[in-house]
């Protein structure tokens, strides 16, 4: 589920703007840290869940407006720019929050264990799954809306979209900001579940890439499918072949890239 939140934003950005935002993982991490701080300072987990995506979206909008737009059409340069941003942002985050491992506690309301089919399930995990499902539904719903139609139009044929009066540039910026905000939101949600430390962004970025490659670049539903597959393979691998779990994941990525680069549900081959 966490993978989904991260990967869907990445897929959206690629689908609409043809940009592979390799800083996505770093925005995720930023969200987690912001969430952590807000939760501590304001003593409100829920506030953190609002603050993180806003921070992410604002920063993302700035990056797109000031930097990425200048590189319009230069795909490789855009990717490299996002890599640069990822590295810079990573160190900035480390400077602000330090290199110690942080962890957030889930809010009291969700700390209990919930029995399901005889297994004690941490309520927070269920919460995360529920949130993921809601976000997925919301995004799909939004994409089906007239607003979403504009996004899909830009993704499909920007030139025709322009001729039909769709403000392509604005749509791209907004999508970028939204997707990055979504990543930050994902990070904030992930806070209580993970050990937060430097380098975390790069690990997550790699996972997001795998999810997107498997599920298909440019497809949000693909991100969900990919996330599920990756989570399953990872979980299965860690259980059965702990030695090979990570290997399996990357091998999966290589296989998909070699033989079906557009992924299961993707559109850009």
């Amino acid at each position: 589920m966490l993978y989904f939140l991260l990967a869907s934003g990445f897929s959206l950005i690629y689908g609409v703007g043809r940009i592979a935002n390799l800083a996505h993982g770093t925005f995720y991490m930023l969200g987690a840290y912001v969430g952590f701080t807000v939760a501590h300072v304001a003593h409100s987990f829920w506030l953190a869940l609002v603050a993180a995506p806003l921070a992410g979206a604002a920063l993302g909008w700035l990056v797109e407006r000031l930097l990425l737009r200048r590189l319009h059409g230069r795909e490789l340069d855009q990717v490299l720019l996002t890599v640069g941003i990822a590295f810079m942002l990573g160190d900035i985050i480390r400077a602000i929050w330090g290199a110690d491992i942080r962890s957030t506690l889930p809010p009291a309301s969700l700390s209990a264990l919930v029995p399901i089919f005889g297994i004690q399930y941490p309520a927070y995990h269920l919460f995360v799954i529920a949130v993921g499902a809601v976000v997925f539904a919301a995004v799909q719903f939004a994409l089906r809306s007239p607003l979403g139609a504009r996004v899909r139009a830009v993704s499909s044929d920007p030139q025709i979209a322009v001729s039909l009066g769709v403000p392509v540039q604005t749509v791209r910026s907004a999508t970028f900001a939204f997707s990055v905000g979504l990543a930050a939101f994902g990070g904030a949600i992930a806070g209580p579940l993970i050990a937060l430390g430097p380098g975390f962004d790069l690990t997550m970025m790699l996972y997001a890439l795998i999810v997107v490659v498997v599920g298909g670049l440019g497809s949000v539903a693909g991100a969900l499918v990919g996330a599920i597959i990756v989570a399953v393979v990872d979980g299965f691998g860690t259980l059965q072949f702990p030695q090979f779990a990570t290997f399996l994941i990357f091998a999966l990525m290589v296989i998909v890239l070699s033989f079906r680069p557009q992924g299961l549900l993707g559109k850009r081959g």
Partner: protein, 496 residues
């Protein structure tokens, strides 16, 4: 002697019932051709007929979906492009395809490497490869580029880069040449020069030529093959083909367009003056001036490659202008981006329909809709077939239905000027009739339409006035009625 028997025994090229499908589109349908050694064959046909696809399949850059190809008695079906090239096949590309960072001489020398066996030489210096340089310079001299040997390829004029394309192909010492629209984008003295070059090519080389310039093709070729919609329509000597009634219909229409009375004209809505634009180094349109008044339907006619689509794309803002002005209701939009033009009241029904992926018909119609006399109900009344299709994804519709969606979505913008780019392309005669009815109805409603068309019948049936484009310039400007009534005038104007 029977031409067929003799030809087959010394075939340089045998294309045997080749079909090529791209997804749902059949670009070539059971096409067969036999070309004798040393023969000069011209391949002609309207846009989208499959000519370049045919070359791609012969040269190996695409594999046929079915059928076989034999080059010099050797089966080459499915061979990769480099292998086919090594059999002695050289080709030029429709859009100049060179090594832009290298000099002219280096480009040509690269062409000599395979024939000279130097392709894997990792020790000697390329610049000092005497035999390569010698062959290269000779090829350059034969096309008249000897003095430009050290110029960077990217800095050549369009005509010069066409010459270089030819030189590179010749440097390969080919047994067979595939020339894809070598004169495209050329005008005036450059065109003559390259044309003469082509005519002077060595006679022992088998040459296949794709060209839209029918005069030139007729002059050049021993035999012509006409392709339409992926199929061979006719084949024979140039005289035979020219006189073939089926071919004439494809280019000239049936001559059965009804004569229309001319509309009372409103004030000028669109005034284009001195427009020039092109792609890269090629100048496609030169000094084009047209005008459209409110309530008129104006048609732009001309054979393919003459610039009709380029004109509409330039007007919509998809292409920057080299010079000229575009005034819509008095405001010059020449330097504004496409979004501004769309918002100012220009709408385009693009060539090839271009449906948006993942959108239903209703969504596409609603996407750009603006308030005004046109609304969804009225659009559906114009194209009732779309009612049943409203919730289907637009890309799953048939060609004719997609055309309706494309027109409707443009209309729903309530534009002041509706531009249509070859809407009849790929449609059956029955659908073209429907299209004709729709455009006539728009005309009766007082819409202003600028229509670029290859289909002469359709254009003359709906238009008030006609401009004819030839090689990037307006060469004729007549009332439609006059052209419809006088077929020989039409032929002359269209250069047929």
């Amino acid at each position: 002697m029977t031409a067929d028997v003799a030809a087959r025994s010394s075939d340089a090229l045998a294309v045997d019932s080749v079909t090529k499908r791209f997804g749902g589109v059949t670009a070539l349908n059971a096409v067969s051709l036999h070309v004798a050694r040393g023969e000069r064959r011209a391949i002609i046909g309207p846009n989208g007929a499959g000519k370049s696809t045919l070359f791609a399949v012969i040269s190996g850059s695409q594999r046929p979906s079915a059928g076989d190809i034999e080059i010099g008695q050797r089966r080459t079906t499915g061979m990769p492009a480099e292998q086919v090239a090594r059999l002695g096949v050289a080709r030029t590309f429709q859009m100049s395809s060179l090594f832009a960072e290298n000099s002219v001489l280096e480009n040509v020398m690269l062409g000599t490497l395979t024939a000279g066996g130097q392709a894997w030489n990792a020790a000697s210096s390329f610049d000092r490869l005497a035999p390569s340089e010698h062959d290269g310079r000779r090829a350059l001299a034969s096309v008249g580029l000897a003095d430009k040997a050290d110029v960077a390829a990217a800095q050549l004029s369009h005509g010069e880069s066409r010459q270089l394309e030819l030189a590179v192909a010749l440097a390969q010492r080919p047994a067979m040449l595939l020339l894809d629209e070598p004169l495209a984008g050329l005008a005036g003295p450059e065109r003559e020069r390259v044309g003469r070059l082509l005519l002077d090519l060595p006679r022992d080389v088998t040459i296949l030529l794709i060209e839209h310039d029918l005069d030139f093709a007729q002059n050049f070729a021993d035999r012509m093959t006409v392709l339409d919609n992926g199929e061979v329509l006719a084949e024979g000597t140039p005289q035979q083909v020219r006189a073939d009634p089926v071919v004439q219909t494809v280019y000239l229409g049936t001559g059965s367009a009804p004569v229309r009375r001319e509309h009372a004209r409103g004030e000028t809505l669109l005034a284009v003056r001195g427009l020039a634009c092109g792609y890269g180094q090629a100048l496609v349109l030169e000094d084009v001036s047209i005008g459209v008044s409110r309530g008129e339907v104006v048609a732009i006619l001309g054979r393919n490659g003459m610039g009709k689509s380029t004109l509409l794309n330039a007007l919509m803002g998809f292409l920057p202008l080299r010079s000229g002005s575009i005034e819509l209701a008095g405001t010059d939009l020449a330097k504004t981006p496409a979004l501004v033009r769309a918002r100012s009241g220009m709408a385009l029904v693009p060539q090839g329909r271009r449906m948006l992926a993942g959108l239903t018909v209703t969504e596409e119609l609603a996407l750009g809709a603006r308030p005004g006399p046109w609304n969804i109900e009225r659009a559906l009344a114009l194209f009732p077939r779309l009612r049943e299709r409203a919730r289907n994804e637009s890309q799953t519709l048939s060609g004719g239905e997609q055309q309706m969606v494309a027109i409707a979505r443009a209309l729903l913008r309530n534009p002041s000027l509706l531009m249509m780019d070859e809407p009849s392309e790929g449609l059956s005669p029955a659908l073209i009739k429907t299209l004709e009815a729709a455009i006539s109805s728009l005309r009766d409603d007082g819409e202003t339409v600028l229509l670029a068309e290859q289909n002469v019948d359709l254009a003359l049936a709906v238009a008030d006035r006609v401009y004819i484009l030839e090689r990037g310039r307006v060469v004729a400007h007549e009332p439609a009625a006059a052209l419809a009534a006088n077929r020989s005038r039409l032929e002359r104007s269209l250069g047929l």
